[in-house]
């Protein structure tokens, strides 16, 4: 298992090892058994989009919204502070 999905509502998987661009990641956990082709390097424990995400979409992990997408991200790409932000914290995005 290269990446894990924690809840059936989740739209990201979390990398369980550093993964290279072009790799076909085996995704396990809830609803597991899928594979995902990675469009870029994904460091250990970082998140990968399971589906295409548009700006304004909510990012789901643990079955709950962990933030909002700020810049469109395609399936197989990294999801992190460069393309998503917290909804709960007070400061507006830079």
């Amino acid at each position: 298992m290269d990446a894990i999905v924690l809840n059936e509502r989740d739209n990201v998987a979390t990398a369980l090892r550093p993964l290279a661009r072009g790799a076909v990641a085996r995704v396990g956990g809830v609803g597991g058994g899928a594979t995902l082709c990675l469009a870029e390097d994904v460091p250990l424990l970082h998140k990968i989009a399971l589906v295409d995400l548009a700006a304004g979409d909510l990012v789901y992990k643990y079955g709950e919204a962990i933030g909002v997408v700020t810049h469109q991200v395609a399936a197989g790409n990294l999801v992190h502070v460069h393309n998503m932000r917290s909804r709960r914290a007070q400061r507006p995005p830079v």
Binding site: Y62, E64, V81, R85, Q90, R91
Partner: protein, 392 residues
Amino acid sequence: MPTGDGRLMQFLGYARPDGSVGVRNHLLVLSITGLTGPAARRIARTLPGCRCVTMPYGGGLLGADALAHERALLGFASHPNVGAVVMVGGNKPELVRLAEQLASLEKPCEALVLDDCEHDALTLTDRAVRKGAALARQISRQRRVPAPVSSLFVALECGRSDPSSGLVANPLVGRIADRLVDSGGRAAIGETVEWLGAEHLLAARGVTPAVGEAIVDAVRRREALAVDAGMDLLGNNPGPTNIDAGLSSIEEKSLGNITKCGNRPIRGVIGYAEAPPGPGLWVMDAPAYAPESLTGFTAAGAQLLLFTTGVGNSFASDLCPTIKLSANPVATRRLGQQLDFDASAVFEGREPIETAAERLFEAVLDVASGTLTWGEVLGEGEEVVSRFGPAL
């Protein structure tokens, strides 16, 4: 000591007159005010093996600070892990009051005030060492006896988290929390700011709507503190260590954090250093920084702490054995003399989480029964009582 169904439900502990059970039997040298801190440390150096806690403040404390100070002093002095206490201080009425409280709990205690030592710290030192030595010998006569898991209060902490904390380590600890609560024991989490983003999930588990409101209110007040101070909640939490390790938002971090309190109903919100008034799961409204957070739990009477980390964190409580665990394979391979429990096999898919939970529960009872944590072996513990405002 397995029960009929093979599950461990007991540990070996020190039965105290007040009904509590300690997992350690410390002689505590306690300076109740800052003036006698150096003297207390000098006393402690002459009583090898004792624990020394010094409160750097004393006179002039107001409001929440005065309350925390009072709670913490009684909490340390009467702690189940403390066999006896030598208290020193420069405030006679306070010392007398504490001694009376300890007498009613039948906690062996000697109280020495600077005023009664001709205001001479060396005279204080001499008398305290002699009395402390006698107490140390006295408490060494006590032996461990079987005690039920229900007598345990275990508090749960995370520090230097990474996503492996939320993926494995915290859910693992959550299973321990559930088991403790189901056995009639007490469990607690704190670090209020880290509930931010997930507080609605915690609030829904309150045993009454009032508890739910108290949880949401605690987070709102903590958040307001940050905003009023002009703090950048995005930049500071998750911190740089967390962000490098993959955590993108406070919601993600908080959701990963709150799995460590398991799934049981939440009995209520307790204040900093406040003892939970009954069995079950409690949440403490407290700062997130480990030294302050751990001391809040210790002062509240927790006998053991379970501390998850992602990348590594060596800090521990001094009075309360602090079991360190991580599921990060890099950290667990590297930190052989810091991490007490290795959960990386779950992370690597080599062990089911249920098996690891069983293993962790056994480790908790093992430490409760006397096995030392790395933090105890290496002296990584320190008690730090929070401050909330200015003093006169």
